[in-house]
């Protein structure tokens, strides 16, 4: 079943055309890694999927509902799409528990006891159940990013977007975050990740999408794509990053 469907999406910032007709569909439970040089449009594509950027033309459909400013409120959007950022964006004035509970309480108006139970479950899942009362500043970068993942999970989204979630981390902290994502993938969560971690893309993703100059240049199963790139651009990219 197709969960995310992107049809001929264009996006420009002023004169700069960032997305030049993107077509992509992602099935439920699929893990898609988007790779490419910086400036290739991969982060913009991700941000269009939850309307942090509005696309200029084309269609994006998530769970059979068309995305555009008029048709979907932030609340409705948050029921479908979760997102984890490169820079964590935790709320620094709230504890880990409060970070996770805030949106379910405020946006959904759910019962406090119920929300706290869910918060403990998702924190358990990312291995941080003992940090419930800690403040973000007291945690390592890797721990903060895992809290951000838990915070997104607490909204029970249908698809999770991950925007270079390990790029701001010290190398020794990357593993713990990737393991959490791997576990989510194994549970059947639909994931779309923009990433620079090629080994992660190869081992965990069902499909790898290579973006180049605002277009999807090449895509396929990771084993094929990495061992047998078809285009010179992908060849060059792979040899540069590996």
């Amino acid at each position: 079943m197709t969960l995310v469907y992107v049809d001929n999406v264009h996006k420009a910032f002023g004169d700069l055309k960032v997305l030049k007709g993107i077509n992509l569909s992602v099935a439920q439970g699929e893990v898609v890694a988007i790779i490419g040089r910086s400036g290739s449009g991969k982060s913009t594509l991700l941000r269009c999927l939850n309307q942090l950027e509005k696309h200029d033309s084309g269609q994006i459909t998530i769970a059979d509902k068309q995305l555009d400013a008029a048709s979907m409120s932030p609340k409705e959007l948050s029921e479908n799409v979760g997102m984890v950022f490169q820079s964590f964006n935790l709320f620094p004035h709230k504890t880990v528990g409060e970070n996770v509970c805030l949106a379910p309480l405020v946006v959904r108006g759910e019962e406090k006891a119920e929300v706290e139970k869910v918060a403990r479950e998702v924190l358990e899942k990312v291995g941080l159940s003992d940090k419930y009362g800690a403040y973000p500043a007291q945690l390592s970068g890797g721990q903060q990013q895992r809290v951000a993942i838990a915070r997104a999970l607490a909204m029970r989204p249908k698809v999770m977007l991950c925007d270079e979630v390990t790029s701001a981390l010290d190398p020794e902290l990357v593993g713990e975050v990737l393991r959490v994502l791997e576990a989510l993938a194994a549970e059947g969560m639909t994931l779309i990740l923009v990433t620079h971690e090629m080994s992660f893309a190869r081992d965990v993703a069902d499909r790898v999408v290579f973006m180049h100059q605002g277009r999807i240049h090449e895509e396929g199963a990771p084993s094929e794509l990495f061992s047998n790139p078809q285009t010179p651009e992908l060849k060059q990219f792979i040899s540069a990053v590996l």
Binding site: E76, S87, L90, F91, P92, L102, A103, V107, A152
Partner: protein
């Protein structure tokens, strides 16, 4: 002529300092109230309200406090409603303070990282929910050091009320000087008393700023 001992001078100055403190408090509390209102007007989505508030801020930041004081004092009289120096000073200082605090607080709201808005949006929060639960609490923390710091400017600003005849610390100084002809002692004492009021606040503001910095919020 009455003879003034050093202690007489100091006692009179200290008594006048009370009015400097009272006027500062009025200006600060009044200014904070009006300033808060202005900050919200500035944040509203209404373009006219936004423009009006920035014009207000620019006018008060771009003209001398002394002129603001004169315009209110003499303006009220020109319109047939003379007001006391006391009231004129309170109004002028309140408006002056509100313009600066509005500017400071707007800066603090803008200083909250953009990512906080994005994260809230993605979690489904609307503008007011984001403001209330995410942005305002953080902006409030950022705003305390510069607000405390600005209170020093308010105290110093009250000295201008002396020019329209309100007897606070500076006016008391000039009056005592006219009676005693000991300008060096008197103005040194006046300066010292202002310093005693302002310096602790300056230090406190710096301490708070450093604490924010150490907490990684700045």
């Amino acid at each position: 002529m009455i003879e003034f001992t050093f202690w007489d001078i100091l006692r009179n100055l200290l008594l006048a300092t009370r009015w400097t403190i009272v006027l500062s408090l009025i200006a600060f509390v009044g200014g904070a109230t009006v300033g808060l209102l202005l900050t919200f007007m500035r944040l509203s989505s209404n373009r006219w309200l936004q423009r009006l508030t920035s014009l207000y801020v620019d006018l008060f930041q771009g003209t001398p406090l002394l002129m603001q004081l004169f315009l209110i004092f003499f303006g009220a009289a020109a319109m047939g409603h003379p007001i006391s120096a006391w009231l004129a000073a309170s109004i002028a200082l309140t408006l002056f303070t509100s313009a600066f605090l509005c500017d400071i607080w707007r800066g603090c709201l803008e200083a909250v990282a953009k990512g906080q808005w994005h994260a809230s949006r993605v979690l489904g929060m609307n503008y007011f929910q984001t403001m209330r639960h995410v942005i305002l609490p953080q902006a409030l923390r950022l705003s305390i050091p510069p607000t405390v710091g600005f209170s020093v400017q308010v105290i110093k600003g009250t000295a201008l009320a002396s020019i329209i005849g309100f007897v606070e610390l500076t006016k008391a100084g000039t009056m005592l000087n006219n009676a005693t002809f000991e300008p060096f002692t008197i103005f040194a004492l006046v300066a010292l008393l202002y310093f005693a009021l302002c310096y602790p606040l300056s230090c406190y503001a710096r301490y708070l700023e450093k604490k924010l910095y150490d907490a990684g919020l700045r």
